[in-house]
Structures are given as C-alpha cells and as structure tokens.
C-alpha cells in the first residue's frame, strides 16, 4: 500500500467514525425520549423533549430538527406540501396508535439521521394494532437484513429502490418513503462538513445545510456528473458511499420506518447499526 493510499484510507475511516459518532448522539437522544411517549402527548410536546435532549448533547446545527408523527400521520396520507404537513402538530397521541420519531442533527460537522417507530402503550396485548405494528417492524427488520446484499449488487440506485418497493408490496404493505420530498429511499451523508453545515437554524423542519447540500449535489450531478445525492427511482448510478436509508411502510392506519446509515464502499457493504434501532457499532 502506498503512503497516499494509507492516508486516504485513514481519512475515510475517520469520516466513517465521525458519522457513527453523530449517529450515536441522535440514537441516544431519540431512544431516551421514546419510552416516555405516552397517550395524551402532542407531537409538538415530544419534539420539545427531543430538542431538550439534543441541547444537552450541545447540538446547534441540523439537517432537520426533530419530527414526531402520530397515528394516521405516520403514513403521510395528507395532501399538499410534505414540508409543512410534516411539521410537529398539536395532534394528541391515542392509546394503541403508532408513532415515529425522526431527527437529523449535525454533530462536530458530521450529519446523522435516526428514526424510531413505536406503538403507544395502553392497547391490550391481544389488540390488532399491536400485532399489525409487530408485522410492520418484522418486515422492516427483514428489509434491513436484505438491503446489505441488495445494495452491494444493485446495478443502479433506481433498481435498488424498485427491489425494496417490490419487497414491501409483495409482503402486503404500502410503500410510504416515496412520499418524502425527492421520493427518496435514502440520501447521501458524504461531503460533510461543507460550506453550509454551520448555517444558523431557521424555524423548525428542514434546515439550510440539508437544502443547500442536496441542491448543490443535484446541480453538480447535472453539470459535472458528480454522484447523485439520493437513492430514488431515477438514480442512474450504483449505490456508493454513506447513505441515511429510510424505508417506510404502512398498512391500514399504521406506518413505521427505520433510518440507519449504510456504508457501500467497494467490496464492503454494511450497516453502522446492524440491528433494528440497535447499537451503532461504527
């Protein structure tokens, strides 16, 4: 191995460690709040609890501030603009309803994006919602296991997205992640810190580092052939690099997702956190 090769491998390893460490902060904050989510909470109140946790972790910059979605809102069935509909609302969580928490802080310049799906306590153990939600989580776990081999072998990101959508529909669930802005299954976490990652926070929701990084990525893709920043149906290249992957599925009035970091680098394809909502091993 040449000196240059060793130093570039070292830089790459340091970058992956930076993302893993940011992801750990996001996971710990969300998992510390998730057990306290209870019927009667509003989305807004829980987002404030999440923000308090992130303030303790000294988070000042964001790809997006925390989101919380309750019940039917976990399916994004709304009409109109995702960005405004997805904002934390005064919707109250009811017993036996599904919920999703999702936050993407920037920690020491490195972005993270973690999401957790749960069910509000109070439903009986034999409740149909409990078993339906368990089925959603089982399918998510199966997709997470399969994605390692699918991503390593996919001819293009578009083909990978089709494969995931077919698996979800084949299991009898609805594909929800195509309702995100840019219809993304995943977005890149490469190229940070960059010129806009310390941009000040503006209100709630998507933040300037997210908007400017991905807008720049799209422009550079079309002008200079840079790697496409998303995995969606139109992605022309094979997956390469670090992605925040967020398959999101639904059935009936329930929706569930996970969001984890997948590394696709040459011969190596692996999750930084192999379990569903599990520890980040780096």
């Amino acid at each position: 191995m040449t000196g240059n090769g060793a130093s570039s491998n070292g830089l790459r390893a340091a970058y992956v460690r930076g993302i893993a460490s940011a992801q750990r902060v996001a996971r710990e904050a969300i998992l510390s709040v998730a057990p306290s989510v209870k019927p009667g909470d509003t989305e807004r109140a829980v987002c404030e609890r999440l923000e308090r946790e992130f303030r303790r972790a000294k988070v000042a910059h964001w790809l997006h501030t925390p989101y919380a979605w309750w019940g039917e809102r976990t399916r994004f069935d709304w009409t109109g603009m995702w960005e405004t509909n997805a904002l934390p609302s005064d919707r109250v969580l009811l017993e036996g309803e599904s919920f999703v928490l999702d936050a993407a802080p920037i920690v020491d310049g490195y972005p993270a994006d973690f999401a957790y799906s749960g069910l509000a306590s109070g439903g009986s153990e034999a409740s149909p919602a409990l078993s339906a939600h368990a089925a959603l989580l089982a399918e998510l776990a199966e997709i997470k296991r399969s994605l390692v081999s699918w991503a390593g072998q996919a001819a293009t990101g578009g083909a990978l997205c089709s494969q995931v959508a077919e698996a979800i529909e084949g299991a009898g669930f609805d594909v929800i992640h195509t309702r995100y802005p840019a219809h993304v299954l995943a977005h890149t976490l490469e190229g940070f810190p960059n010129w806009c990652s310390s941009a000040p926070r503006l209100g709630t929701g998507f933040q300037l580092p997210l908007l400017l990084t991905y807008a720049t990525g799209l422009v550079l893709h079309h002008l200079a052939g840079a790697p496409y920043p998303f995995l969606n149906a139109g992605t022309p290249q094979p997956p390469q690099g670090l992605y925040a992957v967020e398959p999101h599925l639904g059935r009936g009035s329930l929706g569930a997702k996970f969001e984890s970091v997948l590394l696709v680098d040459g011969n190596e394809t692996r999750w930084l956190d192999p379990g569903l909502f599990g520890e980040i091993v780096g």
């Binding site: 603009m81 405004t84 001819a155 293009t156 503006l202 998507f206 991905y214 807008a215 022309p236």
Partner: protein, 55 residues
C-alpha cells in the same frame, strides 16, 4: 433487446438522473423550505421569547 435481423442492441445506461424531475425536486424543495420557514420562524421566536420571559 434483439433486432429483427438478430443483432443485439448495446445496453445503454443513463449517466444522469432525469433533468426535469430534478428541476422539480429543486424548485419544490426551495418552495417547501420557504413556506416552512414562514410558518415556523415566528413560532420559534415566540417560544424563545416566552422561555426568556419566564426567566
């Protein structure tokens, strides 16, 4: 794909994502961000003020 004379057409792979689709993503993204800021910047300011007032 096979032509009538039996010749196999070369597989062509796009090197770019569909331009119009991405232009739409870009414009909707900027518009969504502006709408979201208009809705929440005031609210965040009010909340901060409230917290400060409470001491």
């Amino acid at each position: 794909m096979t032509h009538e004379d039996g010749a196999v057409a070369p597989i062509t792979r796009r090197s770019r994502a569909p331009f119009l689709g991405d232009l739409r993503i870009l414009l909707l993204g900027i518009w969504g961000f502006v709408r979201q800021c208009l809705l929440t910047c005031g609210r965040t300011g009010e909340r901060r003020k409230g917290r400060h007032d409470l001491g």
